[in-house]
């Protein structure tokens, strides 16, 4: 990144001024991540129906946030970097959720008006 040397915005990104994280913090985060790993394995054994996946994803999201915030140093980073992180997540959500919306609502139309050759029922929608 030596090319960065000319950059005016460089001082703001300030990699050389990044505060040195405390070892205690890092180890604490590590411990938390390990605990969460056990937690998620344990919770998956409990029958929660639809909520199993929700809990699993929430725990994963928490772990990922910890890694990003502390290990990847987002807590020291610029607004721009944070914006990029959020953008990655939002775009992932756009991809997954909009695609998912198609599949999860496919049945809606047809159950409302079941196909039938039957002439006596229902109102024709013209």
């Amino acid at each position: 990144m030596s090319t960065h040397a000319h950059a005016p915005g460089h001082a703001a990104s300030g990699q050389h001024h990044t505060p040195v994280p405390k070892v205690r913090t890092l180890v604490a985060v590590w411990a938390a991540l390990i605990v969460f790993t056990f937690l998620t394995s344990w919770v998956s054994e409990i029958e929660l129906g639809e909520w199993n996946i929700v809990v699993a994803l929430l725990i994963a999201l928490t772990k990922a946030s910890l890694v990003a915030w502390i290990f990847m140093g987002v807590r020291y980073s610029t607004t721009l970097t944070r914006l990029f992180c959020v953008a990655g997540l939002v775009w992932l959500m756009i991809l997954v959720l909009l695609t998912y919306s198609d599949y999860s609502t496919r049945g809606w139309t047809y159950q409302a008006a079941p196909w039938s050759t039957n002439k006596s029922a229902g109102s024709s929608l013209k």
Partner: protein, 358 residues
């Protein structure tokens, strides 16, 4: 090739006067939905034309009026938030009208009237196979009666096709692995193109044909000609016996497999706890890949896999038969809204050698 392009004297590309003589500019509107869609289309054309003319005129006028002249300098203008908002919001309002209008027509197109005559269409590279309820079959030709709503239930044997009748303004993709449908009400006697509009391989352009809209008398006349093999459900019944389905799917008592009488369009409780509607798509899947969804109380691997054994047309015949086992009465229509759960005792004699052979 034959139906589409030939049968007519070969036009030479250079024979321009002759070509221009029958230059079509707008398609015939031969269905009930063609009119409303054309109205929206013309609305869009008019809006587009107005906008195009406005912008062309403004560009031409400004370019001429403010052309570079000695001693005249441009006036620097920052912009105008008011103006920006105006030309963002006003067009957007017009677009909202288009959106609402288009969505409304689309909604209607998704919901066939219940008195629509059902015709089955199977697409394969590169032809459309048509089956009628009375058992008549045709290839690349669809006969429909004037003013009678028709619902097409469509399957594909290979790749994605798209069934399109421009004169009716209808079109729907035919995706393998499921059923797709569309419906229309023909309103003009005549002969109109059927096209495949999803690229499906080499002879994609040949995958077309004609829809013949016949008046009442002509339709009755045509209908009386066909059906030598019995109605669609009778053909299905034959297949049902031939393939040994009837050994396990007993009509009135619990066999090794679920009872099919009264099943159609009812919710079915599956082994994994979920519920599905016994519609065409479910029946098709269960016939071809019985293990895909196991009914609660039954075992997997009892029914053989019919994928590769039965064509999509056979499957349609079987479904027609299964449908005929659920005669429509006012009670069942009410009932179709209720969760009638099909429950059966666990099948006995799982290892019995009664499996039908194909």
């Amino acid at each position: 090739m034959l139906d589409l392009a030939l049968n007519l004297p070969l036009h030479s590309a250079l024979n321009v006067p002759l070509i221009l003589a029958d230059l079509p500019l707008f398609p015939p509107a031969a269905s009930a939905q063609a009119g409303p869609i054309d109205e929206l289309y013309w609305f869009e054309v008019i809006v587009s034309a107005i906008m195009t003319v406005l912008i062309f005129a403004a560009v031409a006028f400004f370019a001429w009026k403010y052309r570079r002249r000695p001693g005249v300098r441009a006036v620097q203008i920052e912009g105008s938030t008011g103006l920006e908002l105006t030309w963002s919001i006003l067009p957007f309002l017009v677009m909202l009208v288009m959106f609402w209008w288009g969505a409304k027509l689309y909604y209607a197109a998704q919901n066939p009237p219940l008195d629509a005559a059902e015709v089955f269409v199977t697409g394969k590279q590169w032809m459309w196979k048509i089956q009628y309820a009375d058992g008549t079959r045709e290839i690349n030709t669809l006969h429909v009666a004037l003013n009678q709503p028709v619902k097409l239930t469509m399957a594909s044997e290979d790749v994605i096709h798209s069934f399109s009748i421009p004169a009716f303004r209808v079109r729907h993709d035919v995706v393998p692995g499921t059923y797709d449908s569309l419906w229309f009400t023909p309103t003009k006697v005549g002969r109109y193109h059927i096209f495949c509009t999803e690229y499906c391989g080499n002879q994609h352009a040949q995958m077309g044909g004609w829809v013949e809209v016949l008046d009442e008398r002509a339709y009755a006349n045509w209908a009386s000609g066909g059906g030598g093999e019995g109605s669609l459900s009778e053909q299905g019944q034959k297949l049902f016996a031939q393939n040994g389905c009837s050994t396990c799917h007993l009509l009135d008592q619990q066999g090794r497999c679920p009872i099919l009488r009264g099943l159609y369009n009812k919710p079915v409780q599956l082994r994994d706890g979920s519920t599905v509607m016994a519609n065409d798509a479910y029946l098709r899947e269960s016939i071809l890949d019985a293990n895909a969804k196991i009914v609660s109380g039954f075992d997997a691997d009892v029914m053989p896999n019919f994928k590769g054994q039965l064509s999509e047309e056979n499957v349609i015949q079987l479904i027609a038969y299964i449908k005929s086992l659920s005669p429509a009465t006012p009670a069942t229509q009410q009932g179709s809204q209720q969760p009638a759960v099909v429950v059966a005792p666990r099948a006995r004699a799982a290892g019995a050698a009664a499996q039908p052979q194909q």
